[in-house]
């Protein structure tokens, strides 16, 4: 029915099948949309957040998807600036995943702020001392860059591309893409860092506070490196998931292993620095404010197991797995390492968001445990569903994978 819209020389499932799949995803999306309407209409009181937990699942979700979406800027940087040619086989996917992650995060933020109508105040009344101002600047700008990077891919759609003007436009955008890749790298590095900086500057929150270099706390650098250490393999995971779902080979394994190598190298650097940082925090900073390492943990929700899972099981282990070629070259092990890596960075974002504010700084106060309610889950699921929809549509109609024809039909 819609086969004329498919990319050149590839096969896609029937329209009916695609429709059923889309409706399945749409059901989740609508559930989340209902939650989002409740939030916007009734207020954030409908969530599980409270005065102790002003940040919760939404911010964790935002930080996690922004970190995992880092594959876009970092791969763009390596492909366009450092000219690693192989990466062009996966670059389109990284752009789409990045676009989904960033636009999704911005949608969640619209729900998360109490006065969405005032979101533009970040530009109008900026506080240049706030890390969050920098985050607002950079994620909005970078989201625009991602749109600019995504547009030529849409313009390359078979039927659209027949229009001479669109063809020329897409071509010219491609020619200048290195500029946007560079711009994206700059913007993205800064806001990945500022997201970490947001926590590192909290002088009142001993769990997160860090010394640093000039105006940037160590968390600034740790967040940048952990994002580039996990974003590329997240794209690999998305790609592999799509391969399993469609039953086709979309990107050759060599490219995936290369992405694993890149992420693994960065992850190794990150884990090394993270361990140093944790050590200095536990033995230097904490005692200076009268606290001990043990004081920072509580029960199961905020237990030490989480830290060890994050740093050892989902840090050291995947780092080793990704940098050792013989392990990395086995698909099952590469995907396992990639999964652990992504879980690790998500735990990191979770503890920095939730455990930071859960720790009762006042000795007479107590720990509270935060549970997100269905409204927060549903609206987050909405974003995931939105991602699935964008990816499904892109895969069906846009030439996302340059190798697909070669790998499957020749």
């Amino acid at each position: 029915m819609d086969s004329k819209l498919f990319p050149e020389g590839v096969q896609r499932c029937s329209f009916g099948k695609f429709l059923i799949w889309s409706c399945f995803i749409l059901a989740f999306f609508l559930w989340g949309l209902y939650a989002a309407v409740l939030v916007l209409y009734n207020g954030i009181g409908t969530t599980g957040l409270d005065n102790y937990f002003g940040f919760g699942l939404w911010i964790t979700f935002d930080l996690a998807v922004i970190a995992l979406g880092a594959g876009a800027f970092f791969t763009g940087f390596l492909k366009y600036i450092l000219k690693i040619k192989q990466l062009e086989k996966i670059i389109n996917l990284t752009v789409i995943v990045g676009f989904i992650c960033y636009s999704g995060a911005m949608l969640v933020l619209t729900l998360d702020i109490g006065q969405p109508g005032r979101a533009w105040f970040g530009y109008w009344h900026p506080n240049v001392h706030s890390m969050l101002t920098e985050v607002i600047f950079c994620i909005t700008c970078y989201c625009t860059v991602l749109i600019i990077e995504y547009v030529p891919l849409i313009l390359e759609q078979k039927q659209l591309n027949k229009v001479p003007f669109i063809h020329a436009l897409a071509h010219n955008m491609h020619v200048n893409m290195a500029l946007f890749a560079g711009l994206g790298t700059f913007l993205s590095t800064f806001h990945q860092g500022s997201l970490g900086g947001m926590y590192g500057v909290l002088i009142g929150r001993p769990y997160a506070f860090r010394e640093g270099f000039f105006i940037w706390p160590w968390t600034f650098f740790l967040f940048v490196i952990s994002a580039v250490g996990s974003g590329p393999v997240f794209t690999v995971l998305v790609c592999t998931f799509m391969e399993k779902l469609t039953g086709k080979k979309l990107v050759e394994y060599k490219v995936k292993a290369l992405m694993g190598k890149i992420a693994g190298t960065m992850l190794t650097v990150y884990v090394f620095l993270k361990i140093l940082d944790t050590w200095a925090w536990a033995t230097g900073y904490l005692p200076s404010v009268g606290l001990t390492f043990d004081d920072m943990f509580y029960g199961v929700a905020y237990g030490k197991w989480m830290m060890f899972t994050e740093i050892v099981l989902c840090g050291v282990l995947p780092a080793i797995m990704l940098i050792v070629p013989s392990i990395r070259n086995k698909p099952a092990l590469l995907y396992t390492a990639a999964l652990l890596d992504c879980i690790g960075v998500t735990i990191n974002r979770y503890v920095f968001t939730v455990q930071t504010i859960a720790f009762p700084a006042m000795p007479f106060d107590k720990w509270y445990v935060y549970y997100p309610n269905w409204v927060e889950w549903a609206s987050s699921v909405m974003i995931v569903a939105y991602g699935f929809l964008v990816l499904s549509l892109s895969y069906r109609y846009l030439p996302v994978f340059p190798q697909e024809r070669h790998l499957n039909y020749k």
């Binding site: 209409y41 207020g43 409908t46 957040l49 005065n51 109490g114 006065q115 009344h125 106060d365």
Partner: protein
Amino acid sequence: MHMKEFKIKWGMVIDIDKCTGCGACMVACQVENNIAPMTKKDPYNYVQALTKDRDDADNKLRTLTWMNVYELSNGKSFPEHEVAYLPRPCMQCGNPACVPVCPVVATDKNEEGGIVSQIYPRCIGCRYCMAACPYHARYFNWWDPLWPEGMDKQLSPAVSPRPRGVVEKCNFCHTRYAKAKDQARENGEDPMNLAEGAYVPACAEICPSGAITFGDLNNPEHKVHELAKSPHAFRLLEKLGLHPQVYYMSKREWVRKQGDNYNAGDKH
């Protein structure tokens, strides 16, 4: 560390040994500052009526208590068991954690007097300041403020009510400060040199046991100037370096020790 210095520094000294934990300060604060009572039903919101109710005052993590009284315990069992009550307004920190983090300058510390402001029409409700404040002095308007029929007639005319979705906090009854300065001008006095008692927040005024003393910490004619220097005086979480303008005092050592963390083995 750079700290803004002020000629006038409004501060409180709260004598914990005098506090009975009656909560009058909390009530006075809520009335003075137009903090809406928590009501389950919202008769103006039909969507709300169809879904889950709002929180009522049971949910203490959702209530707005600019002034909040904490109960302290010495942790011992009877007969050595002792409790104390610690009223916690906004500390109006000299080096506030909340001010530099606000992305839109909706909170600032730049007015003579050193009170940390909150600009409700500018707040976007991101709650980053709440995450920053270790004293939990900041509160978010989770629901639309609603005053039951008739209660709206008691609203303080000088204090602006806040909409849903913004953060608010104690501002030492700032409207009373403005009023006191106006009064001084009318009387031909210097508004920058208010006499003791010319400006007093509602909590300090109502406290039946006189536990809260309020004044200019920099003015030797004000009682707080001396009280803050008492050997029994302390500030909350002093080691974090936020330099609160609210002091506490207690003759009991266990109470003073709860003002900060000493778990790492360092001495009081």
